[in-house]
């Protein structure tokens, strides 16, 4: 074999050997790969329910109010209610007296010290910072 042929064969062997080495080294890395996925969607918040129509009855200078719970469409009752009072003759809003003046967490309250007059009431809903629309007016009641 001539010197040129021998050197050629040396190159061939060297290249073949070296090609095999990294194959063995790289293969373990294939087991560590990870892939990714993506997607989009939406989260919908609920509509704040309005209050329900209250019933009102009078005992002396007190007015007892009751209403049914207002619920979210997705389930769950609202946390609290606000009572609104109106002069039934003029339609103007007036301050609610003690017993129903703050947020009411139940579905009833009794307003005391109600001045003489004819009044009707509505209920608004509250959930933390959310407020809902007032529901229908109650029948008018007269305090004498």
């Amino acid at each position: 074999m001539t010197g040129r042929a021998r050197r050629g064969r040396q190159w061939l062997v060297a290249v073949a050997t070296a090609m095999a080495v990294p194959l063995a080294v790289v293969t373990p890395a294939q087991a560590t790969w990870s892939v990714s996925g993506t997607g989009t969607a939406a989260a919908l918040s609920d509509v704040m329910p309005s209050g329900t129509q209250p019933t009102a009855s009078v005992t002396g200078a007190s007015v007892q109010l009751q209403w049914s719970a207002a619920s979210f469409a997705g389930g769950g009752s609202v946390a609290a209610y606000v009572v609104n009072q109106f002069n039934a003759t003029t339609g103007s809003s007036t301050s609610v007296g003690p017993g129903c003046s703050a947020q009411v967490t139940g579905t009833s309250c009794t307003e005391t010290g109600v001045p003489a007059g004819t009044w009707d009431y509505s209920i608004s809903t509250v959930e933390h910072n959310w407020t809902g629309a007032a529901g229908p007016l109650s029948s008018a009641v007269t305090v004498t």
Binding site: G37, G39, A43, W130
Partner: protein, 172 residues
């Protein structure tokens, strides 16, 4: 000159050839590994490999391939949220590959519903675990999504866009 010629044609030159060929081989093997897993379109990273030839030389070629948008898709929907309320956000993971995957993380990014109802009003937990999804199959997992108690009226009847991102591995 005769001495120099002997050095070039002798063992040192053979060693250099091995090193050069080894580096070339690594460059070739990296991308072909991606192709063999049919991950075209998926971004993935393999670990870099270092090769040391008999002549003492070395080469290091990390490989990264950009590929299709995804190996799996994620969808989900939540509704009925109001201040302080937590709901289950059910995520559906669909494997578009022809081999099974194990999903290890699913992250939800919330976008604001409007200028006055910002993303901070909603928080979704990240899934970390092992969710197996068969080839071309779908699996579901639920994460909790909560609306802040301080969300204002601007967040009533709002629509928060959600972006999902996940990672998965191929089970060995």
């Amino acid at each position: 000159m005769r001495v120099l010629r002997a050095t070039l044609l002798g063992r040192p030159r053979t060693a250099a050839a091995i090193v050069v060929a080894a580096v070339l081989a690594v460059v070739t093997v990296g991308p072909s590994a991606a192709t063999s897993h049919a991950l075209t379109g998926v971004t993935y990273a393999g670990e870099g490999s270092s090769v040391v030839g008999p002549g003492g030389g070395s080469g290091s070629v990390p490989f990264t391939s950009k590929a299709p948008p995804r190996a799996f898709s994620i969808s989900g929907r939540a509704a009925g949220l109001f201040p302080g309320r937590s709901e289950s956000l059910v995520l559906h993971v669909t494997n578009v590959e022809s081999f099974p995957l194990v999903v290890t993380t699913l992250t939800t990014t919330v976008r604001g519903a409007s200028a006055s109802c910002r993303a901070a009003n909603l928080a979704a937990r990240t899934f970390r675990g092992r969710l197996s999804v068969r080839a071309h199959g779908t699996a579901t997992v639920a994460v909790t999504i909560t609306m802040s108690a301080s969300a204002t009226n601007a967040c009533r009847d709002a629509d928060f866009p959600l972006l999902f991102r996940g990672t998965a591995v191929r089970p060995s």
